[in-house]
Amino acid sequence: MITDITVPPDLVDTDDEIVLLTWVYRDGAIVEKGALIAELMLAKAQLELVAPARGRLRITVPVDSVIRRDQVIGTIESVT
Protein backbone atom coordinates (compact mmCIF):
# COMPACT_ATOMS: atom_id res chain seq x y z
CA MET A 1 0.00 0.00 0.00
CA ILE A 2 1.20 3.51 -0.78
CA THR A 3 0.22 6.45 1.42
CA ASP A 4 0.65 9.99 0.12
CA ILE A 5 2.46 12.50 2.27
CA THR A 6 0.67 15.86 2.31
CA VAL A 7 0.41 18.71 4.75
CA PRO A 8 -2.72 17.88 6.74
CA PRO A 9 -5.43 20.56 7.12
CA ASP A 10 -5.18 20.40 10.92
CA LEU A 11 -1.55 21.55 10.62
CA VAL A 12 -2.10 24.29 8.04
CA ASP A 13 -5.58 25.75 7.57
CA THR A 14 -4.72 28.25 4.83
CA ASP A 15 -3.72 28.09 1.18
CA ASP A 16 -0.60 30.14 1.87
CA GLU A 17 2.82 29.15 0.62
CA ILE A 18 4.65 26.66 2.81
CA VAL A 19 8.40 26.11 2.56
CA LEU A 20 9.80 22.62 2.99
CA LEU A 21 12.74 23.19 5.34
CA THR A 22 14.13 19.75 6.05
CA TRP A 23 13.55 16.09 5.41
CA VAL A 24 14.60 14.26 8.58
CA TYR A 25 15.22 10.91 6.86
CA ARG A 26 16.80 9.96 3.58
CA ASP A 27 14.83 8.64 0.67
CA GLY A 28 14.30 4.94 1.19
CA ALA A 29 14.46 4.99 4.98
CA ILE A 30 11.93 3.01 6.98
CA VAL A 31 9.92 5.37 9.17
CA GLU A 32 7.47 4.70 11.96
CA LYS A 33 3.93 6.07 11.90
CA GLY A 34 3.87 9.38 13.81
CA ALA A 35 7.63 9.95 13.54
CA LEU A 36 8.77 13.44 12.65
CA ILE A 37 9.71 13.30 8.97
CA ALA A 38 9.90 16.92 7.84
CA GLU A 39 9.96 20.49 9.06
CA LEU A 40 7.95 23.20 7.35
CA MET A 41 7.79 26.94 7.53
CA LEU A 42 4.59 28.96 7.26
CA ALA A 43 5.33 32.69 7.61
CA LYS A 44 7.60 32.72 10.68
CA ALA A 45 6.13 29.60 12.25
CA GLN A 46 7.98 26.32 12.10
CA LEU A 47 5.79 23.25 11.77
CA GLU A 48 6.39 19.54 12.16
CA LEU A 49 5.15 16.97 9.67
CA VAL A 50 4.80 13.42 10.96
CA ALA A 51 4.64 10.18 9.03
CA PRO A 52 1.03 9.24 8.19
CA ALA A 53 1.94 5.54 8.12
CA ARG A 54 4.78 3.13 8.78
CA GLY A 55 6.91 2.17 5.80
CA ARG A 56 9.52 3.16 3.28
CA LEU A 57 9.83 6.91 2.76
CA ARG A 58 9.91 8.08 -0.83
CA ILE A 59 10.78 11.76 -1.24
CA THR A 60 9.44 13.46 -4.36
CA VAL A 61 9.78 17.16 -3.44
CA PRO A 62 13.21 18.46 -2.43
CA VAL A 63 14.13 20.70 0.48
CA ASP A 64 13.65 24.47 -0.07
CA SER A 65 10.61 23.90 -2.30
CA VAL A 66 7.52 26.04 -1.93
CA ILE A 67 4.54 23.74 -1.44
CA ARG A 68 0.79 23.91 -0.77
CA ARG A 69 -1.08 21.95 1.83
CA ASP A 70 -2.81 19.55 -0.57
CA GLN A 71 0.32 18.82 -2.58
CA VAL A 72 1.84 15.34 -2.47
CA ILE A 73 5.46 15.78 -1.38
CA GLY A 74 6.34 12.13 -0.97
CA THR A 75 4.91 8.72 -0.25
CA ILE A 76 5.19 5.93 2.26
CA GLU A 77 5.22 2.39 0.88
CA SER A 78 4.11 -0.21 3.35
CA VAL A 79 6.69 -2.89 4.16
CA THR A 80 6.20 -6.29 5.65
Binding site: T22, Y25, R26, A29, I30, E39
Partner: protein
Protein backbone atom coordinates in the same frame (compact mmCIF):
# COMPACT_ATOMS: atom_id res chain seq x y z
CA UNK B 1 16.74 1.43 -7.29
CA UNK B 2 18.99 2.86 -4.62
CA UNK B 3 18.93 0.79 -1.48
CA UNK B 4 20.08 2.15 1.82
CA UNK B 5 21.35 -0.12 4.57
CA UNK B 6 18.27 0.40 6.69
CA UNK B 7 15.92 -0.20 3.81
CA UNK B 8 17.33 -3.34 2.26
CA UNK B 9 15.88 -5.75 4.79
CA UNK B 10 12.92 -3.82 6.09
CA UNK B 11 13.55 -2.15 9.44
CA UNK B 12 16.50 -4.22 10.58
CA UNK B 13 18.35 -1.12 11.75
CA UNK B 14 16.99 2.26 12.76
CA UNK B 15 16.95 4.86 10.01
CA UNK B 16 19.35 7.76 10.49
CA UNK B 17 17.86 11.15 11.21
CA UNK B 18 19.19 14.43 9.83
CA UNK B 19 18.28 17.20 12.24
CA UNK B 20 18.58 20.95 12.57
CA UNK B 21 20.69 22.36 15.39
CA UNK B 22 17.56 23.72 17.10
CA UNK B 23 15.97 20.30 17.25
CA UNK B 24 19.17 18.50 18.25
CA UNK B 25 19.83 20.90 21.13
CA UNK B 26 16.22 20.61 22.29
CA UNK B 27 16.45 16.82 22.25
CA UNK B 28 19.35 16.97 24.73
CA UNK B 29 17.48 19.37 27.03
CA UNK B 30 14.35 17.22 27.04
CA UNK B 31 16.34 14.04 27.73
CA UNK B 32 18.12 15.62 30.69
CA UNK B 33 14.89 17.15 32.05
CA UNK B 34 13.20 13.76 31.99
CA UNK B 35 15.97 12.31 34.13
CA UNK B 36 16.59 15.17 36.54
CA UNK B 37 13.67 17.01 38.18
CA UNK B 38 16.09 19.71 39.36
CA UNK B 39 16.47 21.04 35.82
CA UNK B 40 14.13 23.87 34.88
CA UNK B 41 14.04 26.40 32.04
CA UNK B 42 13.54 30.12 32.60
CA UNK B 43 13.53 33.07 30.23
CA UNK B 44 11.48 35.30 27.99
CA UNK B 45 8.95 33.46 25.81
CA UNK B 46 10.23 29.99 26.70
CA UNK B 47 6.87 28.56 27.82
CA UNK B 48 4.00 29.86 25.72
CA UNK B 49 5.99 30.60 22.57
CA UNK B 50 8.49 27.76 22.89
CA UNK B 51 11.47 30.07 22.60
CA UNK B 52 12.12 32.82 20.08
CA UNK B 53 14.32 30.32 18.25
CA UNK B 54 12.23 27.25 18.99
CA UNK B 55 14.61 25.98 21.65
CA UNK B 56 11.86 25.04 24.09
CA UNK B 57 8.98 23.97 21.84
CA UNK B 58 6.74 21.47 23.62
CA UNK B 59 8.54 21.70 26.94
CA UNK B 60 5.84 23.65 28.80
CA UNK B 61 3.29 21.02 27.79
CA UNK B 62 5.48 18.16 28.97
CA UNK B 63 7.07 19.62 32.09
CA UNK B 64 4.51 22.19 33.26
CA UNK B 65 4.69 25.78 34.42
CA UNK B 66 6.86 25.01 37.45
CA UNK B 67 9.72 23.84 35.25
CA UNK B 68 9.29 26.00 32.14
CA UNK B 69 8.92 29.58 33.30
CA UNK B 70 8.11 32.67 31.24
CA UNK B 71 9.53 35.85 32.69
CA UNK B 72 9.06 39.57 32.17
CA UNK B 73 11.74 41.42 30.17
CA UNK B 74 14.09 41.53 33.13
CA UNK B 75 17.29 39.63 32.38
CA UNK B 76 18.99 40.71 35.60
CA UNK B 77 16.03 39.40 37.58
CA UNK B 78 15.75 35.96 36.04
CA UNK B 79 19.47 35.33 35.83
CA UNK B 80 19.67 36.26 39.51
CA UNK B 81 16.80 33.85 40.26
CA UNK B 82 18.55 31.10 38.31
CA UNK B 83 21.92 31.71 39.97
CA UNK B 84 20.34 31.55 43.42
CA UNK B 85 18.42 28.41 42.49
CA UNK B 86 21.64 26.80 41.24
CA UNK B 87 23.42 27.63 44.50
CA UNK B 88 20.51 25.97 46.34
CA UNK B 89 20.85 22.73 44.37
CA UNK B 90 18.74 23.23 41.24
CA UNK B 91 20.15 23.03 37.70
CA UNK B 92 18.61 25.94 35.80
CA UNK B 93 18.69 26.55 32.06
CA UNK B 94 18.39 30.21 31.17
CA UNK B 95 17.54 31.36 27.70
CA UNK B 96 18.66 34.74 26.39
CA UNK B 97 17.51 34.75 22.78
CA UNK B 98 19.85 37.54 21.64
CA UNK B 99 23.32 37.88 23.12
CA UNK B 100 23.05 41.61 22.42
CA UNK B 101 21.01 42.01 25.60
CA UNK B 102 23.40 40.21 27.88
CA UNK B 103 24.91 43.52 28.90
CA UNK B 104 22.03 44.24 31.23
CA UNK B 105 22.84 41.17 33.33
CA UNK B 106 26.63 41.27 33.43
CA UNK B 107 26.71 41.75 37.18
CA UNK B 108 24.72 38.58 37.84
CA UNK B 109 26.76 36.57 35.32
CA UNK B 110 30.26 37.89 35.94
CA UNK B 111 30.14 38.52 39.68
CA UNK B 112 27.72 35.89 40.95
CA UNK B 113 27.17 32.95 38.58
CA UNK B 114 30.81 32.80 37.45
CA UNK B 115 32.51 33.52 40.80
CA UNK B 116 30.43 32.03 43.60
CA UNK B 117 32.06 28.61 43.40
CA UNK B 118 35.51 30.16 43.72
CA UNK B 119 34.62 32.72 46.36
CA UNK B 120 32.75 30.22 48.54
CA UNK B 121 35.79 27.99 48.61
CA UNK B 122 33.90 25.39 46.62
CA UNK B 123 30.96 25.19 49.02
CA UNK B 124 28.44 26.49 46.50
CA UNK B 125 28.33 25.23 42.96
CA UNK B 126 26.46 27.06 40.19
CA UNK B 127 25.43 24.36 37.71
CA UNK B 128 23.62 26.62 35.30
CA UNK B 129 23.45 26.58 31.51
CA UNK B 130 22.60 29.55 29.36
CA UNK B 131 21.27 29.11 25.80
CA UNK B 132 22.07 32.13 23.69
CA UNK B 133 21.67 33.07 20.02
CA UNK B 134 24.22 35.30 18.32
CA UNK B 135 25.30 36.61 14.95
CA UNK B 136 24.08 38.67 12.03
CA UNK B 137 23.55 38.39 8.31
CA UNK B 138 19.81 38.97 8.22
CA UNK B 139 19.41 42.77 8.34
CA UNK B 140 18.64 43.00 12.01
CA UNK B 141 21.02 45.90 12.67
CA UNK B 142 23.58 46.67 15.32
CA UNK B 143 21.61 45.66 18.43
CA UNK B 144 20.46 42.21 17.21
CA UNK B 145 23.45 40.98 15.22
CA UNK B 146 26.41 40.84 17.56
CA UNK B 147 28.45 37.85 18.70
CA UNK B 148 30.04 39.17 21.93
CA UNK B 149 31.69 35.82 22.52
CA UNK B 150 35.08 37.29 23.35
CA UNK B 151 33.38 39.58 25.87
CA UNK B 152 32.06 36.54 27.76
CA UNK B 153 35.20 34.47 27.21
CA UNK B 154 37.30 37.07 28.99
CA UNK B 155 35.88 36.31 32.43
CA UNK B 156 37.11 33.25 34.37
CA UNK B 157 34.50 30.78 35.57
CA UNK B 158 32.44 30.45 32.40
CA UNK B 159 32.64 27.64 29.88
CA UNK B 160 31.56 28.64 26.40
CA UNK B 161 30.58 26.23 23.64
CA UNK B 162 29.76 27.21 20.06
CA UNK B 163 28.58 24.15 18.11
CA UNK B 164 28.60 24.32 14.32
CA UNK B 165 26.27 21.45 13.45
CA UNK B 166 23.38 19.46 14.87
CA UNK B 167 25.54 16.57 16.08
CA UNK B 168 27.73 18.88 18.14
CA UNK B 169 24.74 20.95 19.30
CA UNK B 170 23.27 17.89 21.01
CA UNK B 171 26.51 16.48 22.38
CA UNK B 172 27.71 19.80 23.76
CA UNK B 173 24.31 20.51 25.31
CA UNK B 174 24.47 17.20 27.20
CA UNK B 175 27.98 18.10 28.36
CA UNK B 176 26.85 21.56 29.52
CA UNK B 177 23.85 20.22 31.41
CA UNK B 178 25.94 17.63 33.26
CA UNK B 179 28.65 20.10 34.21
CA UNK B 180 28.63 21.71 37.66
CA UNK B 181 29.75 25.14 36.42
CA UNK B 182 28.23 28.04 34.54
CA UNK B 183 28.15 26.96 30.91
CA UNK B 184 26.99 28.96 27.91
CA UNK B 185 25.74 27.15 24.81
CA UNK B 186 25.79 29.60 21.93
CA UNK B 187 24.41 29.08 18.44
CA UNK B 188 24.70 31.42 15.48
CA UNK B 189 21.19 32.26 14.32
CA UNK B 190 21.91 31.55 10.64
CA UNK B 191 22.80 27.90 11.31
CA UNK B 192 20.17 27.14 13.94
CA UNK B 193 17.78 25.79 11.32
CA UNK B 194 15.05 28.38 11.64
CA UNK B 195 12.98 28.88 8.55
CA UNK B 196 12.37 32.57 9.18
CA UNK B 197 16.09 33.29 9.15
CA UNK B 198 16.51 31.59 5.79
CA UNK B 199 17.03 27.93 5.13
CA UNK B 200 19.81 26.48 7.24
CA UNK B 201 23.23 26.09 5.70
CA UNK B 202 23.27 22.45 4.63
CA UNK B 203 26.50 21.58 6.39
CA UNK B 204 24.92 22.59 9.73
CA UNK B 205 22.33 19.83 9.37
CA UNK B 206 23.75 16.49 10.37
CA UNK B 207 22.95 12.95 11.33
CA UNK B 208 22.12 12.85 15.02
CA UNK B 209 22.05 9.59 16.98
CA UNK B 210 18.91 8.95 19.04
CA UNK B 211 20.96 7.96 22.07
CA UNK B 212 22.62 10.41 24.44
CA UNK B 213 26.27 11.32 24.00
CA UNK B 214 28.60 14.02 25.27
CA UNK B 215 31.41 15.98 23.60
CA UNK B 216 34.24 17.03 25.91
CA UNK B 217 34.99 20.70 26.50
CA UNK B 218 38.19 21.87 24.83
CA UNK B 219 38.30 19.52 21.86
CA UNK B 220 38.46 21.23 18.49
CA UNK B 221 37.18 19.33 15.48
CA UNK B 222 38.98 18.97 12.17
CA UNK B 223 36.25 19.11 9.53
CA UNK B 224 38.59 18.84 6.59
CA UNK B 225 42.27 18.02 6.47
CA UNK B 226 44.65 20.05 4.36
CA UNK B 227 48.31 20.91 3.95
CA UNK B 228 48.66 24.49 2.61
CA UNK B 229 46.68 26.69 4.97
CA UNK B 230 44.75 26.32 8.25
CA UNK B 231 41.34 27.97 8.51
CA UNK B 232 40.31 28.32 12.16
CA UNK B 233 36.77 29.33 13.08
CA UNK B 234 33.68 28.35 15.02
CA UNK B 235 29.95 28.39 14.40
CA UNK B 236 29.04 29.86 11.03
CA UNK B 237 32.70 30.53 10.20
CA UNK B 238 33.21 26.77 9.91
CA UNK B 239 30.69 26.68 7.08
CA UNK B 240 32.23 29.67 5.33
CA UNK B 241 35.59 27.92 5.68
CA UNK B 242 34.23 24.68 4.24
CA UNK B 243 32.87 26.56 1.22
CA UNK B 244 36.20 28.36 0.83
CA UNK B 245 38.15 25.11 1.15
CA UNK B 246 36.06 23.63 -1.64
CA UNK B 247 36.79 26.56 -3.94
CA UNK B 248 40.48 26.57 -2.98
CA UNK B 249 40.76 22.85 -3.73
CA UNK B 250 39.61 23.56 -7.28
CA UNK B 251 42.59 25.90 -7.59
CA UNK B 252 45.04 23.42 -6.15
CA UNK B 253 45.20 24.87 -2.62
CA UNK B 254 44.65 22.43 0.21
CA UNK B 255 42.94 24.04 3.23
CA UNK B 256 42.48 22.48 6.66
CA UNK B 257 39.28 23.52 8.46
CA UNK B 258 39.51 23.61 12.25
CA UNK B 259 36.34 24.17 14.29
CA UNK B 260 37.14 25.41 17.80
CA UNK B 261 33.78 24.04 19.06
CA UNK B 262 34.46 25.34 22.56
CA UNK B 263 35.92 28.82 23.07
CA UNK B 264 36.54 28.27 26.79
CA UNK B 265 38.43 26.03 27.22
CA UNK B 266 40.29 26.47 23.93
CA UNK B 267 41.98 23.52 22.25
CA UNK B 268 45.35 25.23 21.91
CA UNK B 269 47.13 22.00 21.10
CA UNK B 270 45.05 21.21 18.04
CA UNK B 271 45.31 24.78 16.74
CA UNK B 272 49.07 24.68 17.05
CA UNK B 273 49.42 21.22 15.50
CA UNK B 274 47.45 22.26 12.44
CA UNK B 275 49.42 25.48 11.89
CA UNK B 276 52.71 23.65 12.46
CA UNK B 277 51.65 21.33 9.64
CA UNK B 278 50.42 23.92 7.11
CA UNK B 279 52.59 26.94 8.03
CA UNK B 280 49.78 29.33 7.18
CA UNK B 281 46.92 30.56 9.35
CA UNK B 282 43.69 32.45 8.74
CA UNK B 283 41.36 32.93 11.69
CA UNK B 284 37.73 33.68 10.87
CA UNK B 285 35.27 35.16 13.35
CA UNK B 286 32.11 37.21 12.97
CA UNK B 287 32.78 38.86 16.34
CA UNK B 288 34.67 42.15 16.60
CA UNK B 289 38.36 41.97 15.75
CA UNK B 290 39.76 44.03 18.60
CA UNK B 291 40.72 41.82 21.59
CA UNK B 292 38.71 39.02 19.99
CA UNK B 293 38.86 35.23 19.69
CA UNK B 294 40.98 35.72 16.58
CA UNK B 295 43.65 37.43 18.68
CA UNK B 296 43.62 34.58 21.21
CA UNK B 297 44.18 32.05 18.42
CA UNK B 298 47.11 34.08 17.07
CA UNK B 299 48.50 34.25 20.60
CA UNK B 300 48.62 30.45 20.69
CA UNK B 301 51.09 30.48 17.82
CA UNK B 302 53.01 33.52 19.06
CA UNK B 303 53.50 31.97 22.50
CA UNK B 304 54.35 28.44 21.40
CA UNK B 305 56.50 28.90 18.33
CA UNK B 306 55.87 31.64 15.79
CA UNK B 307 58.57 30.16 13.54
CA UNK B 308 56.02 27.56 12.33
CA UNK B 309 54.42 30.35 10.27
CA UNK B 310 55.81 30.63 6.74
CA UNK B 311 53.95 33.92 6.27
CA UNK B 312 52.22 36.32 8.69
CA UNK B 313 48.78 35.12 9.84
CA UNK B 314 45.54 36.80 8.85
CA UNK B 315 42.32 37.62 10.69
CA UNK B 316 38.94 37.90 9.00
CA UNK B 317 36.49 39.38 11.48
CA UNK B 318 34.18 42.33 12.01
CA UNK B 319 36.34 45.43 11.40
CA UNK B 320 35.28 46.97 14.71
CA UNK B 321 32.14 48.71 13.54
CA UNK B 322 28.53 48.26 14.70
CA UNK B 323 26.86 45.70 12.39
CA UNK B 324 25.14 47.82 9.72
CA UNK B 325 21.46 47.45 8.88
CA UNK B 326 22.04 47.94 5.15
CA UNK B 327 22.57 44.58 3.46
CA UNK B 328 25.56 45.66 1.28
CA UNK B 329 27.24 47.29 4.27
CA UNK B 330 26.49 44.30 6.49
CA UNK B 331 27.95 41.95 3.90
CA UNK B 332 31.05 44.12 3.83
CA UNK B 333 31.60 43.64 7.55
CA UNK B 334 30.76 39.92 7.88
CA UNK B 335 33.22 37.15 6.98
CA UNK B 336 32.32 34.96 4.02
CA UNK B 337 33.86 32.29 1.81
CA UNK B 338 34.97 34.81 -0.81
CA UNK B 339 37.05 36.79 1.71
CA UNK B 340 38.63 33.59 2.99
CA UNK B 341 39.49 32.42 -0.53
CA UNK B 342 41.08 35.76 -1.36
CA UNK B 343 43.18 35.78 1.81
CA UNK B 344 44.25 32.15 1.38
CA UNK B 345 45.40 32.73 -2.20
CA UNK B 346 47.45 35.73 -1.08
CA UNK B 347 49.08 33.74 1.71
CA UNK B 348 49.93 30.78 -0.47
CA UNK B 349 51.44 33.00 -3.20
CA UNK B 350 53.75 34.81 -0.78
Amino acid sequence: MEQHAEGATGAATKAQRTLTMARAGREAVIAEMRKDPNIFVIGEDVAKLGGVFGTTVGMAEEFGSQRVIDTPISETGFIGIATGAAMAGMRPIVEIAFVDFIGVCFNQIFNFAAKTHYMSGGRFKVPMTMMIGYGGGYNDAAQHSQCLIATLAHVPGIRIVTPADAHDAKGLMHTCLRDDNLTIWMVHKAIWGLGWLGTAIKTALSVVPEEEYTIPFGEARIWREGSDVTLVGYGISVHHSLQAAEQLAAEGISAEVVDLRTIVPLDRERIFQSVAKTGRLIVIDEDYTNCGVTAEVLAVIAERDPSVLKVPARRIANPDIPVPFSRPLENFCLPDAEKIVRAAKELVKK
